[in-house]
Symmetry: D3
Subunit: 243 residues, 6 copies
Amino acid sequence: MTGKSSPRSIVVLSAHSGDFVWRAGGAIAHAAETGAEVRVICLSFGERGESQGLWADPDMTLETVKIARRKEASEAADILGAHIEFLDLGDYPLNVTSSAFDEIVDHLRRAEPDLLLTHVANDPYNRDHNLAHETLLRARMVAQAQGHKTDAPPIGAPQILMFEPHQPEMCGFVPNLLLDITGVFDRKQRAMQCMSAQQHLVDYYTDLAQRRGVQAVRNGGARSIRYAEAHQRVFPVVSEELI
Amino acid sequence: MTGKSSPRSIVVLSAHSGDFVWRAGGAIAHAAETGAEVRVICLSFGERGESQGLWADPDMTLETVKIARRKEASEAADILGAHIEFLDLGDYPLNVTSSAFDEIVDHLRRAEPDLLLTHVANDPYNRDHNLAHETLLRARMVAQAQGHKTDAPPIGAPQILMFEPHQPEMCGFVPNLLLDITGVFDRKQRAMQCMSAQQHLVDYYTDLAQRRGVQAVRNGGARSIRYAEAHQRVFPVVSEELI
Amino acid sequence: MTGKSSPRSIVVLSAHSGDFVWRAGGAIAHAAETGAEVRVICLSFGERGESQGLWADPDMTLETVKIARRKEASEAADILGAHIEFLDLGDYPLNVTSSAFDEIVDHLRRAEPDLLLTHVANDPYNRDHNLAHETLLRARMVAQAQGHKTDAPPIGAPQILMFEPHQPEMCGFVPNLLLDITGVFDRKQRAMQCMSAQQHLVDYYTDLAQRRGVQAVRNGGARSIRYAEAHQRVFPVVSEELI
Amino acid sequence: MTGKSSPRSIVVLSAHSGDFVWRAGGAIAHAAETGAEVRVICLSFGERGESQGLWADPDMTLETVKIARRKEASEAADILGAHIEFLDLGDYPLNVTSSAFDEIVDHLRRAEPDLLLTHVANDPYNRDHNLAHETLLRARMVAQAQGHKTDAPPIGAPQILMFEPHQPEMCGFVPNLLLDITGVFDRKQRAMQCMSAQQHLVDYYTDLAQRRGVQAVRNGGARSIRYAEAHQRVFPVVSEELI
Amino acid sequence: MTGKSSPRSIVVLSAHSGDFVWRAGGAIAHAAETGAEVRVICLSFGERGESQGLWADPDMTLETVKIARRKEASEAADILGAHIEFLDLGDYPLNVTSSAFDEIVDHLRRAEPDLLLTHVANDPYNRDHNLAHETLLRARMVAQAQGHKTDAPPIGAPQILMFEPHQPEMCGFVPNLLLDITGVFDRKQRAMQCMSAQQHLVDYYTDLAQRRGVQAVRNGGARSIRYAEAHQRVFPVVSEELI
Amino acid sequence: MTGKSSPRSIVVLSAHSGDFVWRAGGAIAHAAETGAEVRVICLSFGERGESQGLWADPDMTLETVKIARRKEASEAADILGAHIEFLDLGDYPLNVTSSAFDEIVDHLRRAEPDLLLTHVANDPYNRDHNLAHETLLRARMVAQAQGHKTDAPPIGAPQILMFEPHQPEMCGFVPNLLLDITGVFDRKQRAMQCMSAQQHLVDYYTDLAQRRGVQAVRNGGARSIRYAEAHQRVFPVVSEELI
C-alpha cells in the first residue's frame, strides 16, 4: 500500500506556540479525526515576538506571557486533538541548542511519524521560521540513521509538508496541496479563538481558509469544499493514484 | 468527494507517436485498469525525428514511416487500454494549425476529462515537446470557456501531469508524483516492445522505471513497489488526504 | 528629474475587457486624479471566457455579449478617468494579428507613455494573459525604434507594471510595489460594480485590496492606508529616492 | 504619508570596513544630504581579506592593519556624512557572536531606522557578505518584537536595500532600484580615495557608477543622470506613486 | 576525442547585423584563427531598431540603411575571419517565416557545425533576441532529424553558446565560460569600428572586455589575460578535462 | 595559459567517507592518472548514517564501524590514486568545529589546489552534504586572504566542482560538465568494491556512469565514451577554447 492511506502518526514542528494553530490547525484536526496521533512540538512560546495582545499590558513579564501562551496553545491543541510539548528555546531569535536538537530527534524516533509539518525554508520577515525548517530537515536525517542508537528504531522517510507562511509570494511558497478542511473548520476556529494574544488573526485566517476553499473548487475539487489550507510538499508523493 | 478518487476520463497529448508509451505508459495502463477512459492524441507520428529504426532502410519514405508508426502506436495504445487518434501535424518542427487546435479543444470537450497528461514546458533539446505543452494549456482554457459553444458543455478544471522528459535535470523537471506502476508494468513493457523504430529505448525506460521504483520506496512508498513513473503536476492537488 | 514625478501618460494593455478594472483599477484612478492621461486598450471583450453572468441566459449570443461587455467596460473606464479602445481580437484564445500589433505600436507612439501596465508573463490558468504580456514587450520595443517611421516620434523607455494575477503564487508573481489606493478606492469600487458579467469578483477584489492594504502598513507604509494594489515592475526603478 | 518621503534614519550593516564605501557610498551621501541620520556598523575591518594594499608591506601586523582601516573608514564615513561604529568581530571568516548580535539589535532600536542597507544573501565568492545579510534580517526581526524589552521601543518595518555585489550575475542580484547619485558623486569619489588598502577599486567603482548611470537613462531616467548605484529591495515598496 | 578539441565549424545566429560583432566578435576571431570555418547568419540588418547613427540623417531611407548595414557587417565579418549571410527578415519586430526557417536548417546541415552561437532566451528589452534563440533551438532539432531529407546529412549535437546580453542581470544570464580573447582583441576592435551606425558601443564593449578579462584572472585564469568575453552554454560540456 | 591545462593539485571535501568514491571516483582517478596530486578530506566516516551494511551486525559498535570505514575508504583512495585524511567530526549531524575549520583552511593552503570538489548546496535529504558545501566555500575564502598568515601562502581562485547528488532533480543540480571517465572506470569500480558497508550502491553507480556516458555521446562527445560522471561548476570556466 502506498502513501494514499491516511497518516497514523504526525509530528508538527512549530517555531512559536501559535504557528501550528493558524497555519496547520485544519490539517491537524483532520488527521486527528481520521485516527492519527498528532504531536506538536513548540520550539518557543513566541513570547517576545508574537504576543502583542499580552504585551499591551504594561506590567506584563516574560514569565507571565509564557504561562499564558502555554495555556492557550495547550487548549488549542486539545481542541484540535493533538498532544503538545514545549521546548522553551526562546524566540526572536529562536536558539536551537545541541541538546534541544537531540530531544527533537528522540521525539521523531518515538513517534515513528509518517508525516511531518513545519515552516517554509526562506521567509524574509521571520528567520525563526527558517530555523525551524532547517531543524526539522536535519532531525529527520538523524532519526533515519541506522547508527544513531536509541531505544526507538530508525524512522522511515516521512513526507514533510510546509504550511502557508503569512506572505506566501515573498517566501517562494508554491502550494501543491489544497487540503479540504471543511469538515473540521469549526474545530480550527475554536482553536484559533484560544489564542488571545493574537486575536487579530482569527478573521484573517478564516478569510484565508475561505479563499483557499474557493481556489480548491476552481482547481477541480468538489463543489462542497468551503474551507481549505494550502501546503507545499518537500518530497515527491508516492502514490497509486494519478490525481 | 475531492480529487482522491480515481480519474474516470483522461486525455494524453503526445507530441510524437511514441512519447505517450515511453513516458506515460504506466500511468495510462494503471488508469485504464481502474476503469478510466483514456484517450491519446498524437500530434504527429514523430516520422522525421523519432523513427531512427525505420530510416535505417535507405528506401524508406515518409509515408511508409507514418504507416508503420501509426500501426505501432495503435498496438501500444491497445495494450495499454487506451483509445488513440492521430492529427498528423508534422514533426521536427511540429506545426499546430488553427484548425488542429480547434479539434483538440473539441476532443477535450467530448472527453470531459478529469486528468490531462503532456510534456514539460521547456526542453532545450526538443521544442516540439514545448509546443505540445503550450497547446494543452491553451486548449484546456478554451474548453473551459462558457461562451465557447459546442455540443459538449464546458469542461471543469482538470489537473495536468507533465511526464518525465529524457533529461529531467536540463528541463527544470522536479517530480512531485512517483506513481506506483508495479502492477501494470508488464503491460507497459509489452507496449514498449511495439515501438520497433525506437527499440533502443526499451531497456532505458525499463531501467528508469526500476530507479524511480527504488526512489519511491526511499521516499516512503510501500516496500512492494518495483516500478514507478515520475510526473510533475502543474496545479495544486485538491485533497482530503495529507500524505 | 528622475522617475519620482507622477506619470503623465499611461497605456494599459488588457487581455479581456474586465482585467483592467479588477487588477489595475486603483492604479488607473490614482493616476487619472493626479493628472495623467490613461488609455486602456482591450485586446478582446473576454466575451467567451470571462462573461459567465451573461452566458447564464440561454439565448445569449456572442454579439450581444460583446455589446454588453463594451458598455460595461466603457462605463468603468469613464468612472476611473481613462480613455478606452477595443481591438476585438477574440478571446479564449486571444489572437493578436499582425495588423493589430501594428495598431498597438501606433497607440504607444501617439500616447508617448511614461508608464505601461499589463499582465504577468506566465499564468498557467490563462494563456491569453501571457500573450498580452508578450505583445506589450514587443510593441514597446518597436515603438522605440528610430527606423520605425510614423507621424509620432519614437517613445522613450517607459516602465512596465505587471498587475496581480488571480493566483499570484502559481504565476511567479512577487510584488515590488504596493500602491496606496485608499484615496481612490470608492472609484474602483464603482467601476467594479459596472462589470455585471462578473459580479462575483467585486467582493473578492475588495477583500484583496484590504489585505494588500494591511500588508502595505506592515511593510512600513502609513497607518492611514486601507486599500492597496500589488504590482510587479519589469525594469529597475530610476530614482533620486532611496525608499 | 507613504514611503515616498525621504528616509530620516538609516543603518548600514557592512561586513568589512570598506564595503559601505564602494557599494553604498552614493546612497549614504545622498541620504545624508537630504537630512537623514546615517549610521554605519562595520562588523569587521576586513583586516585579513580586504587589505591587500597594506599587507604588501612585509612587516605589517594585524593590529596595524586594523588601525589603518579604522582610520580610513572613519574618514570616508565623515566625508559621506555618516556616523560609524566598529564591532571588530574578525573577518575571513566573520564571526557574529551572540553578544555582538544583541549589540546590533540595540543599535537598530536606538536608530529607529526607516531604511537598512546590507549585502546580498548568496555570494559564492564571499561568505562573510552572506552572514552580514542574515544577521541584518534576524536583527530587524528581533528589534521589532514587542516583548524584547530595551529602553528604546520596537522598530517599525524598515525596507532593506541590498547593494551591488562585485559579480552581480553570480549572486542572483537583479537590481530594482537605480539610484541617481550624480549630485553626490564627488563625495563618493573622495570617500573612495580614503581607502588606501584597496586603491585599485576606485577606478572600478567610478566606471561602474557611470555604467549604471547610462543604464538609468536608458531605463527612463532623466538625461542629466551621470552616475548611479544599483540596489535591490528585499520587501515591496509601499508608495503613492506608480513610477 | 571529446569536446576539448577546437571547433572546426561554427554557425552564429545574429538577430541584427551588429549583434555578432559586439557580443561574439572575440569568439569568432579566436575560432577563425585556430582554423575553424565560421558562418554568421544575420536574420535582419537591425535596420529599424539598431542603426541610430544612420537615422540621424533626416533623408535616410530603409533601403539605404540596409545597404550601409550590409556593408559594415560584411567588412566586420571579413576582419573577424567569418563568412556572412543576410536573410533580411525585418527587425523590430523580427519575423522568421516558415521558408526562412527552412533555409536556416539547410545552413546548419551544410555547415555540419560543432558549435552554435546565439542570444539568450529571455531579454525583456529586446524580443527579437529571444526569437533568434528559439529559432536556433528549433532549427538545431530539425537539422538533427534522420527523416528530414536534404543533400547534406543530419548534424550531430553541437553545443550552443549564448553570448552576453546588454543587461545580463535583467536576462538571467549567468556566464559559465569566460573566453580569453586577448590574442584577437585587436581584430575585434577593428571589426567594431566598422559599425558606424553604433559607434557609441565601441568604448562600451572595449571596457566590458577588460572587465571580463579582470574577472577571468580573478577566477583562476592566467595573469596574461587582458580581454575576455562572457558566454553561457546551454548544454553540459563533455570533456576529458576537469577544469 | 588558461584553465585548459590539467589540474596539478586537487582537494576533495567529502562529508562522509564514502561520498568521494561514489560521486567523484572517476574524476579523482582521471586527475591522478594525468599527474595531479589529489587529497581527499573526509569530514566524518559516515559511521552513523551511511554504514548500513555494518550495522546489520547487532554487536556492532561505533568505534568498530569507524575503523572499518577508515580502512575501506583508505583502500579506495589508494586505488584511485589519492591521499586521504579523516577529520572524524561526527555525522548525522556533521559538526564542523572552529578548529576543524582552521585545519581545513590549512589543508587548502598547503595543497595550493587548482581545483576543489564537494557536494551541492541544497540537498533536502541530507543536510551534512550542505554543510560540507558551505564549509568549502568559506574555507576557500579564508585560504585566499592575504592577511591570514600561515607558513603556506594564500591560494589563488580554484574552481569548485559539485559532484552529482543522489537525487539530482530534487537538489537543483544542473550538470555543466560530463566528464569522460571511460579510461579509468575499472579503477572507480575497484574502489567502489572496497565499500563493503554500502555494497548496494556499486550497481547503482555503475549504471549511472553508463547513463551519463550515453548522455555525453548524445551531447556531442566522442562515440568512444562509455562511462561518465556529471558535475556542476560553481564559477565560470576561464578558457581559450570555445567548446
